[in-house]
Every structure is written in C-alpha cells, then in structure tokens.
Amino acid sequence: MNLKTELLNFKEGITLESGERLDSFDLQIETYGEINKEGSNAILICHAFSGNHHAAGQSNDFGIGWWDQIIGPNKAIDTEKYFVVCCNNLGGCAGSTGPTSINPTTQKVYGKTFPIVSVDDWVNSQKMLMDRLNIDFWHLVAGGSLGGMQALQWSISYPEKVRKAGIFAAAAKSSTQNIAMNEVARESIRKDKNFYGGDYHEHNALPKNGIKTARMLGHITYLSEELMDMRFGRKFQDEASKVDESVNFEVENYLQYKGEKFSEFFDANSYILMTKAMDDYDAGKDKSLEEKLRDIKTEFLIIGFYSDWLYPPERGKEIQIAAMKNNIKSSFVVLDGEHGHDSFLFDSEPYSKLIKNFIES
C-alpha cells in the first residue's frame, strides 16, 4: 500500500477565517499508493472530529487506520490505483499544529490561546498541502461527518480543483441538536477541576474526567438505539471485566472503557476547538447553500444512513436539493447501515460499491 507518514512545515503561515494568523504551522500527513504520471489519481480524505491523518493501514502510534475498511489495496478507495492523502487537521492533537504545540512567539504551549479554526481554514490549509505535493486537482475529496463537511466546502472554495466530492453522514450545517450535544460535552470539560480555564498545561494537570464524560456522551450519539439494544441489551457486565465497581450494565462498562481510553490521548482544548468548528460550520453562511453552490462543476455523491440520528439522511438530502437546483451532477443515497452515525466508517457491500462506482464512473 506504500504508507508514508510525514510532518510538513508551512513557514509561510496562514491567515485564518477569524482574521488571526499562524505565522508558521505543521501538518502531519499520511499518504498511500503512488501518484500516476498524469497526476490524475489523487484523492484527499478528510477526517471527522476526533480522527487524524492515519486513515488506513497499521501504525505503531495509532493502530489500524480509522477508515481502513474503505481505503486499501482493492478496497472501495483502491490504493493500487489511487494516490490517497490524509492530514491531521489544524488544531488537532495528532501531530499537526494545535493547542498542544509550542507557540513560537511565546515559546510556551498554545493551550487555550490557540486561535479558533474553521472548516474553511482546514480546507485552505489542505489546499496549501495540495500545492506542496504538486497536485493539480483532486479526483475525489471524501469524508464522513465533519470530514464530509470539508469535502463539501472544498467544492465551494476550490470548485475547479475537485472533480468529485464524497459527502457521507454529513450536513451543510450543524443542527441545533448537534450544537446542543456538543455544548454538553464542552461543559463537562470546562467543569473538570483540572481544566483551569484551558490552562491545564501550566498547572501540570489534565482534565481527563471531563474529556471522558464528553466522549461517553459522544458515543451515545454515534450509535443507533437499535444497535445499542442489539449489542448490549440489558445484559449485566461480568464481575471480572468491570472497569469500576459502580458499573452494572454492559453498556455502562463500554462507555466507561471507551471514554477512559479516549481521555488518555485526546487534548481537551482540541476537543473544544474541533466541536466549535463543527458547530460554526454553515456552508450557506452569508447567502444560502443554493447560492454557494452556483457554478460548481464538482460531482457529488451524498450518502446518509437510516440509523444515523446525529446527521440524519434528511440533512444530506438538503445538499442534494440545493445541488440539483444548480445543475450539479449529484447523487443522494440512503443506506441501512446499522451503526448509526458511525456507519460511514464501516464497510458494507452497497456502501463500498457505491464509493467504488462513483470514483470510477
């Protein structure tokens, strides 16, 4: 698969949507496959809120890639045929410049002083990455959830640079309910006594409990009611594998375990930053989605999942309707996907087939 990991520095810096500047920044990237002679087989993968650059294959630091079921040799996104690029987004905590990085001006960790980033900023920084890699256009930009929002924004910000966009389990803007859920998650972080208003590095502390609770809530929203019922039901956790005495049900144990694991590596300020970027995103802001999609030549494949109640299929349909008004060659498909919002991560025959057919059509 030819997996390559690289840390790229952009010393020219970037001016963010907020008006603030990062005078220099790093992007942690991973690539798979080879670029062809014509330079026509490049694919950009955008990660969701807690994802990172490690989308496929095995790595020592990150285990199996988050979209390994979809990306790889002979998989839906075939690394034998395509050159696939994925980067950790600005503001993340997996290698790219973010709140845990050192601010070159102060020589201290950015922490809470790291500027607000947006989906547009991510797309702009990915465009800089594209130029650095000498890629003229993306055959496909794809992602799920917040990654799908980036794929949509790519087609708006750089329509001539994107042939096809894969927008999965996503929306043109976060819903009120999405914002509400994220606010509860952020509140649990802010109220952790180790958060220190975001200055936990200065106090040599980590607000792990807050991140854990936030992630537990997150997991509930990523799964469907049906899947939770099927997987855990009302089964009791066996004594030997309980994470904690207070746990009764398997579902409690699962959430405790997942939350704990996540809190060990994910940065609290990044969590707040990433969820804020998600909440703030509105592809139609200042105008309407319909107007923003004018004159776009990118082809869309929008996929939603029936069991996804966080970004339900209707949100994808809204993009489809706006795309059709603008004569964009756009398809909208809803799949069963039993994993709720997380369905976009998993291979299933119809899902992989759609992606493969779309890429190759």
Partner: protein, 196 residues
C-alpha cells in the same frame, strides 16, 4: 426497457434539457438521453442494486420512495419528468401525476393497458390477467393501480391534463394499425406526453 420505448420517449426530449426520471431502474434510459440528447438527467430509484448501476454509469440518482411524495423536486426547474412503467405501482398515481406536472411543464408517462384483449380474455375466463407484459400473479404483483387506456385518458380529462402526444404500442413494441384504430383493445401500452 425495450429499445422501441426509449426511441419514442427520446423524440419528446429536447436537446440539453434537464430531465428527471421517476423509477429510473438501472439508469439506461437516462444514460441514452445523456449520450444522444446531452441532457442533464437525474434518476429516482428505491432499489439499492439498481442505484449502484446508475452510479457506475455516471447517471446521477436519488434514492427515494416516490409514494412518500416528490414535491421537493418542484423547485429544481426541470424541463421534463418521465415515469416509465411505474405509475401503476404507486399508492396515489393521480397525486404523483399532478406533482410531476408541477415539477416540469411537460411529462412523459407510460401506462400498461389492462384493456388489452388478452387481459380481457383472462378476465372473461374468470381469472386476473397474467400476460407477458403483466407477468405476476395478483398476490405478488407490484402493480396495484392498473387501468385501461380509456381510464387513463378519462383521468387526464378530469384533472385538466392536456395530452400533447400519445403513442400506442403493441406486443412487439411497435405501432400497428390495429393498436392505432382501437388502442383500448389492441395496445399493450400507452406512451403519453402530458402538459398541464
């Protein structure tokens, strides 16, 4: 789809127009229209396997149950909507017809004719018609709203829908003098170009 039917429909499709095909199946009609008429076409389909075939052909497609309403397409400025061999499967064919004529000024609808003489012989012998055109038994057919040519034209009249053009085809998929003289008896299918 029979070659003949797509040839008939093609004549009514303007070059470079924007077309929506309800119940588009594997997208073969739209694919032909894209190639021959340079249309911008969208299909609407419910079957996942057929949808995957559409995407493979590069035919844009929307997964949707037409019975749940199609009025969200009204704002998309379509020139023509097509419903080929599907209207008899809908819960509310009259409402769908009405919505199609809001989606686009013109629409093409094909109607299988239950008045076809073989169907009548079936009925005369006391059985629900099973013919090569309507091959399923009553308990497994998707065709829940079958009608005759006469019935369909009466609906158009009642709803103030103008029939701009119509073609009746026989078993061989061609127009014959018999199906022209007495379509309600000799046509297996009516192909209509409608306008509000």
């Amino acid at each position: 789809m029979a070659i003949q039917l797509s040839e008939i429909i093609k004549k009514w499709v303007p070059e470079n127009s924007k077309v929506i095909d309800f119940g588009c199946g594997n997208g073969s009609l739209l694919d032909e229209l894209i190639i021959d008429k340079n249309i911008l076409g969208y299909g609407v389909e419910i079957n996942d396997l057929k949808i995957a075939e559409c995407i493979q052909k590069g035919v844009p497609v929307i997964k949707q149950d037409i019975d749940k309403g199609i009025n969200e397409f009204i704002s998309s400025n379509f020139d023509l909507s097509i419903m080929a061999r599907s209207i008899q499967c809908l819960k509310n064919p009259d409402l769908a017809l009405n919505e199609m004529l809001q989606i686009s000024k013109r629409c093409v609808v094909t109607v299988p004719n239950l008045g076809y003489w073989r169907c009548r012989i079936n009925l005369a012998s006391g059985k629900m018609p099973v013919t090569p055109e309507l091959p399923s038994s009553w308990y497994e057919t998707e065709n829940i709203h079958l009608c005759t040519i006469k019935d369909f034209e009466k609906l158009c009249l009642d709803k103030n829908i103008k029939v701009k053009d119509k073609i009746f085809i026989n078993r061989r998929g061609t127009q014959s003098s018999l199906s022209l003289i007495s379509p309600n008896l000799f046509a297996v299918e009516g192909v209509y170009l409608l306008e509000k």
